[in-house]
């Protein structure tokens, strides 16, 4: 179980607990539940790399405590 930090730099900073084998899509759903936006409106990036929905966190090498950028579609 890892904890990922999603920050949109405009005031929304969300800590999401998830598994390593969760996909980005699942992470978006969890983040949506916490922030209150819709899951399909969320975009997770790391410096111009837009993370795709069907790939797991493990494959993206996202570790515990790592920060990701939260953008909106």
């Amino acid at each position: 179980m890892i904890e990922v930090v999603l920050n949109d730099r405009l005031g929304k900073k969300v800590r999401v607990k998830c598994n390593e084998d969760d996909t980005i899509g699942d992470l978006k759903k969890l983040a949506a539940a916490q922030t209150g936006t819709r899951a399909d409106k969320i975009r997770i990036q790391k410096w111009y790399n837009i993370y795709k929905d069907h790939i797991t966190l493990k494959d993206y090498e996202i570790h515990d405590g790592m920060g990701l950028e939260l953008y909106y579609n």
Binding site: K17, N19, A33, K52, Y72
Partner: protein, 388 residues
């Protein structure tokens, strides 16, 4: 300058019509090449030509959320605001299904509630296939009546938040709309009559087994005609709901018989019926035990689907569902809607539910750490495995 709404255009739902589309999606559309090249200086007539060239519908797709031509044309229609007659022409035309869908979508966004139901419901009878672009960028198959159903029941489609429309039965009770008359009604009545005749024949002849396979040939033909069974049943379920409400005074018994017969056949499909107004009808039905179970399942599903932002509400919902959970947390209050547990039927179902819940607890919702238990509950509600 090209992106400004026609100054003569009326405001829709109290706002600039283009504002019906959200800011981010709107910006994406304005930056799109299709919009800049093809949609510049379109009028109502030239818009028709562009609409005829459409070959798929959808919202935005891909990682950077590119808009589809469909949604660009929707935006263009919002910008130039064609007359209602033109939009109705779009909807009524039979040849070009994407033009139809475009008209229907625009009507859903801008029309009044009565207009929406009046013009979109005839499209339920259109079973043609459509190509839909998903948000990943691939295509999926859908049908005209599915899309219309989505427009009338959901509040979000093709990346545009649809304005609220009241439920159909609200409008029926206030008398604004007529109860829905489906094309399938005559077929139901035929089948009903045939079943009655069959039952009479069965009473007379002891050896005659009730053969439900012996359905009317019209019905079989009907089945071949329809593409997807689930959506046919959904449509029929909806009809059943309307029919049950409508002839309340006069033909109540007849409808009850009809419904009872239908229940037998379509119980399994009933569980899939997720519409709100179906739930109210459930209470009227005779088979209470089964209804209660279904009621509970439907309601629970509905509750989970409702976007519960606050975590405490999630917790409370779970407590209502799980008797053991409630005892453990020592929350004595039960919601007023909770059925009395003295009922024998519901007790059996509770035992069943307890078994289900016990399996579910291996999901991790009973984790000693409350934060993790909470997270697991949320995950279970989203359909994800528990935390490791």
């Amino acid at each position: 300058m090209a992106n400004r709404t026609d100054p003569l255009a009326k405001s829709i739902h109290g706002t600039n019509p283009q504002n019906l589309v959200e800011k981010i999606v709107r910006s994406k559309i304005y930056q799109n090449t299709y919009w800049k090249e093809q949609c510049f200086g379109l009028t109502a007539e030239t818009l028709v030509d562009k609409a005829m060239e459409l070959d798929h519908l959808g919202g935005t797709f891909g990682g950077n959320r590119r808009p589809t031509p469909f949604i660009c044309l929707v935006m263009k229609m919002l910008q130039i605001q064609p007359d209602k007659d033109i939009v109705v022409e779009f909807i009524k035309n039979e040849d070009y299904k994407y033009v139809r869908i475009l008209g229907a979508f625009y009507m859903r966004l801008t029309g009044t509630v009565t207009d929406v139901y009046q013009y979109l419901e005839p499209l339920y009878n259109d079973y043609r296939k459509l190509r839909r672009k998903t948000s990943e960028g691939s295509f999926s198959l859908t049908h005209v009546d599915e899309v219309i159903d989505e427009l009338l029941t959901k509040d979000y489609s093709c990346d545009i938040a649809l304005p609220r429309v009241q439920k159909r039965w609200t409008l029926e009770t206030t008398g604004v709309l007529e109860p829905r008359k489906s094309v399938l009604d005559e077929d139901f009545e035929e089948e009903e009559e045939e079943k009655e005749e069959e039952e009479q024949a069965a009473l007379e002849d002891d050896t005659h087994e009730k053969d439900y396979h012996g359905r009317s040939p019209t019905r079989d033909r009907e089945r071949d005609r329809k593409r997807d069974k689930q959506y046919r049943d959904r449509d029929r379920d909806r009809d059943r709901d309307y029919d049950r409400d409508y002839p309340r005074g006069r033909e109540r018994d007849r409808d009850r018989d009809r419904d009872r017969d239908r229940d037998r056949d379509r119980d399994r499909h009933r569980l899939r019926d997720e519409r709100d107004y179906g739930r109210e009808r459930d209470r009227d039905r005779e088979w209470e035990g089964r209804d209660r179970d279904r009621d509970r399942r439907d309601r629970d599903r509905g509750r989970r689907r409702s976007r519960s932002r606050s975590r405490s509400r999630d917790r409370r919902e779970r407590d209502r569902d799980d008797v053991d959970h409630r005892k453990r947390r020592a929350r004595g209050s039960t919601s007023p809607h909770r059925r009395p547990e003295d009922d024998i039927n519901s007790r059996e179902e509770q035992l069943k539910k307890k078994k289900e819940k016990k399996e579910k607890k291996s999901d991790g919702t009973d984790h000693p750490d409350p934060e993790i238990a909470e997270a697991n509950r949320l995950r279970a509600s989203l359909g994800l495995a528990p935390l490791k």
